[in-house]
């Protein structure tokens, strides 16, 4: 468990689906209401959690598909998950650093 640090609570969360390749972020919340899905309500959130996309997890966008940089492959702590940007928009994150900046 990594409690949200005070300095990050001031930052506005962004959507995981909007991140570019190489960006690292921490998940701060899940909100499937903005995502159009054939699943019944609450199902996408549960699937995301089951794949490790849960508050506190550290993520990094590793790869982008083709065309339109979709889907994305995201490292979630120790494993890698592929998902479409549309559904990744159910995941709220705050950016930590970018790989390119290192």
């Amino acid at each position: 468990m990594s409690p949200a640090p005070a300095d990050r609570s001031a930052v506005n969360p962004v959507l995981l689906g909007s991140l570019g390749k190489g960006t690292r972020a921490e998940i701060v919340g899940l909100d499937e209401s903005r995502v159009h899905t054939p699943l019944k309500s609450g199902e996408l959130e549960r699937r995301l959690i089951e794949m490790g996309l849960v508050e506190g997890a550290h993520v990094e966008v590793l790869h982008e598909g083709f065309p339109r940089r979709d889907p994305i492959a995201v490292r979630v702590n120790d494993h890698t998950v592929a998902l479409r940007r549309a559904e990744a928009d159910a995941v709220l994150v705050v950016a930590l650093t970018t790989m390119s900046a290192v």
């Binding site: 468990m1 899940l30 159009h36 899905t37 054939p38 699943l39 609450g42 996408l44 959130e45 549960r46 699937r47 995301l48 959690i49 089951e50 794949m51 490790g52 849960v54 508050e55 590793l62 790869h63 982008e64 598909g65 083709f66 065309p67 339109r68 979709d70 889907p71 492959a73 490292r75 979630v76 702590n77 120790d78 494993h79 890698t80 998950v81 592929a82 998902l83 479409r84 559904e87």
Partner: protein, 632 residues
């Protein structure tokens, strides 16, 4: 349930996909496993037998991989129902072995906590411990066991002796369970579908347990990271994927050629043997023309199917399959298909039957139906004999495109391309109309790359081959006998001049169809050949051979028949028949597998109607255009 158990104790293997569960199952049971179907559903049931160190015979079930007991696909429903004891005709397992990928405990252990709610004996197998230790994992199994409240055993499924501790533990667990008589008390099951709140609780609990039991986490697999940098970069990854698909496709045709010729020779030999031993009459005709010719014409595809599944198994075992789905998801999404649809479609180039069965991995029913509906449009190898015959008869050997390819090759390519393009078009139309709705989310783990184990590949192939032969020996066998009967009865009158099949029921059907097929340029001979062609497309070639009163087999038949056809058919008729064959649902085996897989009479009917419509339309346009360009 009786007090003194006669049947051996049963153990169920449960785990996430990619946890090495099947490798562990293979290590436990070796070749002593069988695949069947669960009653009422088409999900395959894998069961094996092993003798424990204490000498007990134990039955073990390999359940479909899942991330959760909240079932999302028919496969996962089986896993849930079996462990919950809800599956009809299945006894409740005496113990559950939860197989966890040790390199990935954070993701895997949540399901272990969910399984614990079942209140049944459960053992945690930390699988792939060798890889995990190489990646720097330091775990205290005793601590983990104490925190989770279940026995924990490290296993290395791929190493001899790597599962000994697990087998010992199964013995102990079963003994304890029998002493306590837990199985008589089902009320203990405390599982209910977890809410997102429950899932977060499980997640926190996993973090707490790991913090205590794990001294050093496994580092990411470096080779995987390096490989993915190349294989998942669209500019390089897509061409590589295309090359892999091309190689697979090529191998299906080249590697399988010699064994197929041998099988063909064997079938001919068998026919000749029966011909010499049985007296003339209906029995001989049934055995030779019905059973051996009919079932033989399907079994001959076994080599191609094995080569194809060899490649698919390799791609799956290495972990590349998930990457292929990743690379193709957006492209296939353009016509509304799921990234996972490409495996069934690739398989369909060998035969639509295994292709349609492979569509089981697609969770969403609408996505799955769309994939199944277009699978027959991928040109299966049964259509090759028909294409080869007609091309040899009507398309002259002429170099085109500056001598790079010849005209017959180009026509063959055009026939394949027409199938693929129309398949994509049909998918697009279906997803915009009858099968509307957003696509199922992708959400798929990209597992670490692993070297495939020959043993697992061999066992996987054995399983596929068996499944195919069982189908050929049951459903297809029955269909062949029916089609033979249609083509043989009633027998021709004495002194009949025309081929016997003309007087049969098939002949009557062919004649009835003739006026319908005249607008697309088909004569009565073609109409008649299409009827037994329903059993298997390539049978039409044999029937045409009979009608044009030719003898001989295989190549001899084809070359002399080609000459005969070239003299009696017009080019527009031949082109029209080629166009017909690109689309026509000329295969009862395909329709019957659709009915079984979708558990519906409606969808095979839809498939038959729309494919026949497409075939008729395409043949009509081809015939009319060809007649106006070339003249009747």
């Amino acid at each position: 349930m009786s007090e003194d158990r006669k049947s051996p104790p049963r153990v169920a293997l449960v785990g996430n996909p990619n946890s090495g569960k099947t490798a562990l199952f293979n290590a436990m049971t070796g070749a002593r496993q069988k695949v069947a179907n669960y009653a009422g559903v088409t999900v395959e049931k894998k069961e094996g037998l092993f003798v424990s160190p204490a000498g007990t015979r134990v039955r073990v079930m390999d359940l479909p991989g899942t991330y959760s007991l909240r079932a999302r696909s028919p496969d996962e429903e089986v896993t849930r129902d079996v462990v919950l004891g809800r599956m009809e005709g299945e006894e409740v397992p005496d113990a559950v072995v939860f197989v966890a990928d040790a390199t990935n405990l954070r993701l895997n252990l949540r399901l272990a906590l969910e399984l614990k709610k079942l209140g049944r004996p459960i053992i945690l197998a930390l699988n792939m411990m060798d890889a995990a230790e190489k990646q720097g994992l330091k775990v205290d199994p005793a601590e983990l066991s104490a925190e989770l409240g279940m026995p924990v055993v490290p296993t290395i499924a791929i190493q001899t002796g790597g599962i000994q501790t697990l087998l010992d533990q199964i013995d102990r667990t079963i003994q304890v369970a029998e002493l306590e008589g837990w199985s008589h008390n089902r009320a203990e099951c405390g599982w209910s579908e977890p809410s997102s709140h429950d899932l977060r609780d499980y997640h926190r609990e996993v973090e707490r347990v790991l913090a205590r039991a794990i001294h050093s986490h496994a580092r990411p697999h470096t080779a995987t990271q390096h490989l993915d940098k190349v294989l998942l970069m669209p500019g390089i990854g897509l061409p590589i994927l295309l090359a892999v698909l091309f190689l697979t496709f090529q191998a299906v045709f080249t590697w399988a050629r010699v064994p197929m010729e041998l099988l063909d020779a064997g079938i001919t030999l068998l026919k000749e043997g029966v011909d010499l031993t049985l007296p003339d009459g209906p029995l001989k005709s049934l055995v030779i023309d019905g059973i051996i010719a009919g079932v033989g014409s399907v079994i001959i595809f076994l080599p191609q199917i094995l080569v194809l599944f060899f490649f698919i198994q390799m791609l799956e075992d290495t972990g590349y399959m998930a990457r292929a789905a990743f690379l193709l998801d957006k492209l296939m999404g353009g016509v509304g298909l799921h990234g996972r649809a490409f495996i069934p479609l690739l398989s369909s180039f060998a035969c639509a039957v295994p292709g349609i069965m492979a569509a089981r991995t697609i969770e969403n029913r609408a996505d799955r139906i769309a994939t199944i509906m277009i699978a027959p449009l991928m040109t299966c190898s049964a259509r090759l004999p028909v294409y080869t015959l007609l091309i040899a008869a009507f398309i002259p050997e002429r170099p085109v495109l500056g001598g790079w390819i010849n005209l017959p090759g180009l026509v063959m390519f055009a026939l394949y391309a027409a199938g693929i393009l129309s398949g994509l078009l049909v998918a697009l139309v279906m997803k915009r109309t009858v099968l509307k709705g957003a696509r199922e989310p992708l959400l798929m783990q990209l597992p670490a790359y692993r070297l495939p184990r020959p043993r697992n590949v061999a066992l996987g192939l054995l399983e596929r081959g068996q499944a195919f032969l069982v189908r050929a020996g049951t459903t297809i066998f029955t269909l062949m006998v029916v089609v033979w009967a249609l083509g043989s009865f009633p027998a021709p009158p004495d002194g009949a001049l025309e081929p016997a099949i003309r007087y049969s029921i098939a002949g009557a059907i062919g004649h009835a169809l003739e006026p319908l097929l005249a607008p697309i340029g088909f004569n009565w001979q073609i109409a008649l050949a299409l009827v037994p062609g329903m059993a298997a497309r390539e049978v039409a070639v044999g029937v045409l051979g009979t009608i044009y009163a030719l003898s001989g087999n295989g190549d001899a038949l084809r070359s002399s028949l080609a000459t005969a056809l070239a003299h009696s058919w017009s080019l527009p008729t031949a082109l029209s028949l080629l166009a017909w064959y690109v689309f026509a649902p000329q295969c009862l085996a395909t329709l019957s597998v659709v009915r079984r897989e979708l558990n519906s009479r409606f969808w095979p009917l839809v498939m038959f109607v729309f494919l026949t419509g497409l075939a008729y339309g395409a043949a009509f346009v081809t015939y009319r255009v060809a007649v106006s360009v070339l003249g009747g």
